[in-house]
């Protein structure tokens, strides 16, 4: 392929710029990691930039010993796992009939789904409705409102629609009903879309902030994001239980850095899956939407 000198310069310049931008995107993360592993005095003397100074795990030890943080972590992990499974079930149960022409309510329900996707209710009547349903100060609010998302529903319905009619007809002749059809044939063949949607739901559940902020008053039920928000904004919460600040090897800032990294670790661990399936999902979504 013929390529002039100016072309090469252009491509090299673009590549260099992108590498620079990637590094810039990671610098804030790196700086928080460095802070979380540095000593109090190094931080106070403005020595910490992108790598730890006076390396210490003291801040990490203090945070790891906080039972309230682990409680929030367990609550968030549990509600994310249960919520994701429930959401896939709820989504599949509605997406399957919607993918069948013989389901006569299909047209109306589909319009209802699209309208629900476009029009968002104002937050106050939404809050009042859920409170009326008994979800105020109820940890179920971490799961129940998230188990069906119209956008995800449309993705799953689109996927179900491409199953061949022949396979189903053969199964029906064998006397297999719709329920068995869905759970024994359709879902096992839908692993790709299930994985994508599991991650869509999972990230929303893990990262949720507004629902617990609106509905949960009891600190026992604070999920991780609310807990970390407290740690970020409230010195007393994060330092509670610390004996005296004179001989400590950590301060508010190093502890805060630890909590932030603490909450990022699960995301980074899941990241290889997240990227792969999210890109796939975004493609399906963009084709449809």
């Amino acid at each position: 392929m013929f390529e002039s000198r100016s072309e090469k310069v252009f491509v090299t310049a673009v590549t260099a710029l992108l590498i620079l931008l990637s590094v810039l995107a990671l610098i804030p993360l790196l700086s928080v990691v460095a802070t979380s592993l540095s000593s109090k005095s190094a931080v106070d003397m403005n020595l910490v930039t992108l790598w730890p100074k006076q390396l210490t795990l003291d801040s990490w030890r203090y945070i790891i010993d906080r039972p309230d943080l682990w409680r929030s972590f367990a609550l968030t992990l549990g509600s994310t796992l249960i919520g994701t499974v429930l959401a896939l079930l709820m989504t599949a149960l509605l997406a399957y009939p919607l993918s069948k022409p013989e389901f006569r309510w299909g047209g109306v329900v589909m319009i209802a789904v699209v309208v629900a996707m476009i029009f968002k209710a104002p937050i106050v009547p939404y809050f009042l409705t859920l409170r009326g349903l008994g979800l105020y100060n109820n940890p179920l609010v971490l799961i129940v409102p998230h188990v069906l998302n119209p956008f995800n529903l449309i993705i799953m319905r689109t996927f179900f629609k491409q199953f061949s009619k022949e396979l189903e007809e053969a199964a029906f002749l064998e006397g297999c009903g719709y329920f068995r059809m869905l759970f024994q044939f359709v879902l096992p063949l839908s692993k790709a879309v299930l994985a994508t949607l599991a991650l869509f739901y999972g990230v929303v559940l893990w990262n949720q902030f507004q629902h617990p902020l609106l509905f949960l008053q009891n600190p026992d039920w604070f999920p991780l994001q609310i807990k970390i928000r407290q740690f970020i904004t409230d010195d007393n919460v994060i330092m509670s239980g610390a004996v005296s600040s004179a001989d400590l090897n950590y301060n508010e800032r190093t502890l805060r850095a630890v909590t932030v990294i603490f909450a990022i670790i699960p995301i980074v661990a899941a990241y290889p899956f997240l990227q792969k399936y999210f890109v796939k999902g975004a493609m399906i979504g963009s084709v449809k939407g």
Binding site: M1, F2, E7, V11, V14, T15, L18, S22, A25, L26, P28, S31, V32, T35, V43, N46, T49, M90, L93, L94, Y96, P97, K100, F103, W105, V109, A112, A116, F119, K120, A121, P122, I123, V124, P125, F127, L128, T129, L130, G132, P145, L148, L153, Y178, F179, V203, N207, F209, L214, I226, I228, R229, I232, R253, V260, A263, I267, Q275, A282, S286
Partner: protein, 301 residues
């Protein structure tokens, strides 16, 4: 006729049974709250509920228009919305065009990974990182110190709020925003580039005359969706970046509704604010969709 219907039900009832939980969910969590928006025209009372609370017409909207807070909050929302469209929206388009030029696929993957990661962090975490970055001993002030500058507490000064809003929006979501554009670019027929190269078109000209025009319909659709969310700046983001010192620049409709509606329990008034916001968004999409259909055949509908 009735026996036929009965016969139908005998075979198809499982489909209807399956659909019921989802339909109930949509009614309870989407449609009742949507219908509940009528309390913007009522004096909502907890004991009477959505239906029986007395009608008051446009009373709350009149209060709203004359409320001194409203002008400030609405102004802040407009400014941030405009900044988002002008400064944040074009970034993924540029990034996608650039990423497309990288030859080595390993490098391409690395760049994409680095740019995607922030998208998966919650706004609480992002705000934690940002607060750390701009803290007194944070990286920002350390670097300022090298150049002999006095430290700046950017998170506590309203003058910096809009800049921080724009930067965090780009940092978290611009990389991720390239996904859709990359998909659109990869769908372009390679023959177009081949014949352009035979004609001696340079890289820059190929981008200008092939990639960009063919990407434009996608850009337009996403632009329309963005316009519809013009006043919807993201509650989580603004709420978490806000400090009491930055209210004058960062208090927006979403945070205002949260304070007046949920915390101070002025239910009807806050619903009026929310409804006002939705209606403006809807009008904007409608108008821009008309315009875009006039200039090209693209558009949402």
């Amino acid at each position: 006729m009735r026996t036929a219907a009965l016969q139908r039900m005998k075979v198809y009832w499982p489909l209807y049974a399956m659909a019921i939980p989802g339909i109930v969910f949509l009614i309870l969590f989407k449609y009742i709250p949507l219908a509940g928006a009528v309390i913007a025209f009522k004096d909502y009372s907890v004991f009477k509920g959505f239906v029986d609370s007395p009608w008051v017409g446009f009373k709350h909207f009149e209060t709203l228009i004359h409320h001194p807070d409203f002008a400030r909050v609405f102004g802040n929302t407009m400014i941030l919305g405009l900044l988002k469209i002008v400064l944040v929206f074009p970034v993924p388009v540029l990034l996608a065009l650039m990423i497309n030029e990288i030859r080595k696929s390993a490098l391409k993957k690395g760049v994409q990974t680095a740019l995607y990661i922030p998208h998966f962090l919650s706004w609480v975490i992002v705000s934690g990182i940002v607060f750390d970055f701009f803290s007194l001993s944070g990286l920002f002030n350390v670097v300022l110190g090298w150049f002999g500058h006095e430290p700046v507490l950017a998170m506590q000064e309203s003058g910096y709020f809009r800049v921080i809003y724009v930067i965090t929006s780009i940092w978290r979501d611009a990389g991720w925003g390239t996904v859709v554009y990359m998909a659109a670019i990869s769908a372009i027929d390679p023959q177009l580039y081949e014949s352009a190269m035979i004609d001696g078109a340079s890289k820059v000209r190929q981008i200008r005359h092939i990639t960009f025009p063919l990407l434009l319909p996608t850009v337009l659709v996403l632009f329309l969706l963005e316009i519809g969310n013009f006043l919807d700046l993201g509650f989580d983001q603004v709420f978490n970046l806000l400090t009491p010192m930055t209210y004058s620049a960062g208090d927006i409709l979403d945070t205002y509704v949260f304070r007046t509606g949920i915390q101070q329990a002025q239910y009807s008034f806050a619903t009026a604010v929310g409804l006002f916001q939705s209606v403006i968004g809807f009008i904007l999409v409608f108008v821009f969709n008309r315009l875009s259909r006039k200039v090209s055949d693209g558009g949402l509908w």
